[in-house]
Amino acid sequence: MNVQIERFSYDDAIVRRFTLVTFVWGVVGMLVGLLVALQLAAPVFNFPPLPWLTFGRLRPLHTNAVIFAFAGNAVFAGVYYSLQRLLKTPMFSKTLSNLHFWGWQLIIVAAAVTLPLGITQGKEYAELQWPIDIAIAVVWIVFAVNFFGTIARRRERHLYVAIWFYIATIVTITVLHVFNNLVVPAGLFRSYPIYAGVQDAFMQWWYGHNAVGFLLTTPFLGIMYYFMPKAANRPVFSYRLSIIHFWTLVFIYIWAGPHHLHYTALPAWASTLGMLFSVMLWMPSWGGMLNGLLTLRGAWHKVATDPVLKFFVVAVTFYGMSTFEGPLLSVRSVNLLSHYTDWTIAHVHSGALGWVGFLVFGMIYWLLPRLYQTPLWSPKLAEAHFWLGTIGILLYIVSIYAAGLTQGLMWLAFDEEGYLAYADFVETTMRLIPMYWVRVIGGAAYLVGALLLGVNMLMTWRARPRPLAVEVHEAPALARAYTDRPEPISPLVTSGTHVANLAYTLDRFFRTTWHRRWERLPLLFTVMVAVAVIVASLFEIIPTFLIKSNVPTIASVAPYTPLELAGRDIYLSEGCYNCHSQMVRPLRAETERYGEYSKPGEFVYDHPFQWGSRRIGPDLHRVGGKYPDLWHVRHMDDPRAITPGSIMPAYPSLLTTPLDLESIPVVMRAHQTLGVPYTDDDIVGGTDAALAQAATIAEAIVTQGGPEGLADKKIIALTAYLQRLGTDITRPEPVAAEEETGETPADAVADPQETSGDGAS
C-alpha cells in the first residue's frame, strides 16, 4: 500500500487577527464595565441629561461586549489555532474565515452603536435587535460550514475531545439563538418575542443558562483540553474523564435551566427538576477541574516560572469554584437569599474574570511567541499582569459577595414587632456604596492588567521576523479504507472457560469496534449531540407551553392601552429591567414590602416579560397606584430630589423628548399578530386613544402642582405604564369577557396554591 505524504501549512493570519480583536474588544468591554460600576457607586457618572450613557443602556453593552466580543473572539482564535493542528489540515476556506472575521466585527460595531441608542429587545444577553440577530445567524453558519468543512478534509481520523466541545458549542448556540430570538418585528428597530410572560421567561432563561454553558463553558473547556497539555507539554491526565465531562454538559447541563427562576411564578415541578440536575452537575465539573490540574502533575515546578501556566491554574480553579457555586445557588433555600442580589453578580464575575478571562490571557501569552515567531517580549510584565489580575478578581468578588449577602439579609430582616427591619429600600442601597467603590478599584486593577497584555502584544509584534515564515507540515492523507488495529482476542476464548452463549455474544458486542468507529464519524457525532440538546430542551419546555393549567387565566387581566404600550417601549428601551424586577415572590418579606405576590396569569400580554434578575432598585410589579402621577415625573427627572441616597440615573430628557405617536398603530399591529386581542378598530383609533389618555394624565399632573405641557412627552407614556403595573388583579372582573372566552369563574381565578409552587414554605 503506498501512503501518500501531503504537504500543507496552517493559516495563522486568521488566528493573529482574532487574537488582536480579542484584546481590543476585551479592553472596550471592561472599560464599559468599569463605567457601569462607577455609576452604581456615584450616579453622576450617568452623565445626565445625556440619555445614551445611563446604566440601563450601558449595562447591556458591557455584557454583550465581554460575552460576544471578548469571549467570542477568543473562542474563535482558540478554535482556529487548535482545529487546524488537531486535524493536520488548514481551514476549509480562507474566504469563509475572512467572512467570519469581518462579519463578526461588524456585528459587534452594530451592537456598540444600537445599544446606547436604546435599540433593544429588552431581554438579558439577547438585547440585540432582529436585523443584527439575523446577521449573527448568518455569520455563525459561515463559521459552522468552515468548521465542518475542515473536519471533512482532515488528515487525522480521531477527533480529539477538544473538538467535541467545539461541536457542542456550534450546535447548541445555533438552537439557542434561533429559538430565543423568534420575534415579530415592528419596523427595523423594534420587535416583540412570540412568547409572552411565563413562557418568554422560560425561553429566556433556557437561553441564558445554556449560553453560559455553551458559549462560556464548553468552548473554553475545549481550549483548556488543548492548550493546557500544550503549555505543560504533557497529555491530559485522564482522557476518559474528559469524555465523561463532555457528556455531562451535553446531557445534564441543558436540563438545569429553570433554576434561574426560583421562587418566581414558575410551576414547581420545573424548578425542582432544574435543581436536581444542577446538583448532579457538581461531580463531573469538579472532575473536569481536577483533570485540568492533574495534567500538571510533574510539571508544578514550571508553574512557578511560567506565567501561562499560572493563568491556567487560577482559571481552572475558578472553574471548579463557580461550577460548585452554581448548583448551590439553585438550591431553593440559598436562592431565596441570593436571588436578585449582588451574589449573582459575584458568581458571574468569578466565572467571567477568573475562569474565562484568565484562560484567555493564558492562551494569548502562549500563542504570542508562536504566532509572531519570536519570544514573548517580557515574561516579567506577564507576571505583573497575572498578579494585578488576581488582586483585581479578589477585590471584586469579595466586596460583591459581601454586598449580595448584606442586601439579601436586609431585605429579609424583620424586627421584634414583626415589621420589616429596613422598610425603606434605599437604606439597603446606601449600605452597599462602600463595597461598590471597592469593586471599582478591583475592576480597575483587572483592566490595567489587561492593558499590560496589550503592551506585551505590541512589543512582541514589533520584534517579529519580517516576513513571518510559513511553516510547511507533512502528513499522510487519510486512507479511504481504514481498518482499526485489531482488538486483543477475548480472554474468554483463549482461556477455554465454559460460559453461556450469551456471554460470548455480549463479549463480542462490547469488544467490537462499533463505538470507536462511531467516535470517528463527525456527522453522526454531531447529530447525536444535536439530538441530545434538542430533546432535553423540548422535554423541558413543551409542557409549559402547551398545558393550560400551568398558566391559569385571570379574567380581569386586560391588554395594555395604546399609551401604556408606548410607555412599556420606553421602559424596555431605557433598560429599566437592568435594575428593577417585576416579580413579587410569595415570601412574607416581599409581600410586606411590595404587596400581593405576582401570579403567572398577570403576564399573559407581556411581550417580552420584564421580571428582571437583579434588584438594584425595588420591585415595580405593584408600583401602579402607589404614588401620584406627579411623583413619577419628579422622580424620573431627579431621583435624588425625591429619595436622597438613590442611585437611580436621572432621566430629565424624558420630560422634554416628544413621544413617538406614529409607531403606536405599528406596535399594536405587531401585538395583534402575537395574539393580543386588539381589534382592528382599536388599532386604527390607537393614536387618538393614546392622546386622550395622555391629556388626562397631563391634566392630573398640573392639578397636583406639576409643570404644564407634558402631554406629548415620553414621561407621560412611561407614567401611564408604571401606574398600570400590577393593578389588573384588583380591578373588578369584567362580566362580558367571561362569556367570550368561555371560562368558568373557577378557571379564571388563579389558584394560588397551584401556581406559586411551594413558595410559602
Binding site: S82, R85, L86, E156, H158, Y160, V161, A162, Y225, Y226, P229, K230, N233, R234, P235, V236, Y239, R240, I243, I244, W247, T248, F251, I252, W255, W269, A270, L273, P369, R370, Q373, T374, P375, L376, E471, H473, F510, H515, R516, A532, V535, A536, L538, F539, E540, I542, P543, L546, I547, K548, S549
Partner: protein
Amino acid sequence: MKLSDIMGAAGLASWAEIGLVVSFITFAAIVLYVFVIRSRASYEDARHLPLDDDPEIPS
C-alpha cells in the same frame, strides 16, 4: 386556544419525566462504557493528539 387543549389532553406532563429518565440512562450507559467496558489503553493515541505536533517554539 385549541392547540393547548389538545396537547393538554395528550398527557404531555409526563414527557419531562420520561425525557429525564432517558437522558439519565443514556448518560449512565456512556459512563459505564467509557470507564468499565473500554480499556484505558485504547484512549492512549487520542490522549496524545495535541502533542503530536511538529517540534517548535522559539523561546
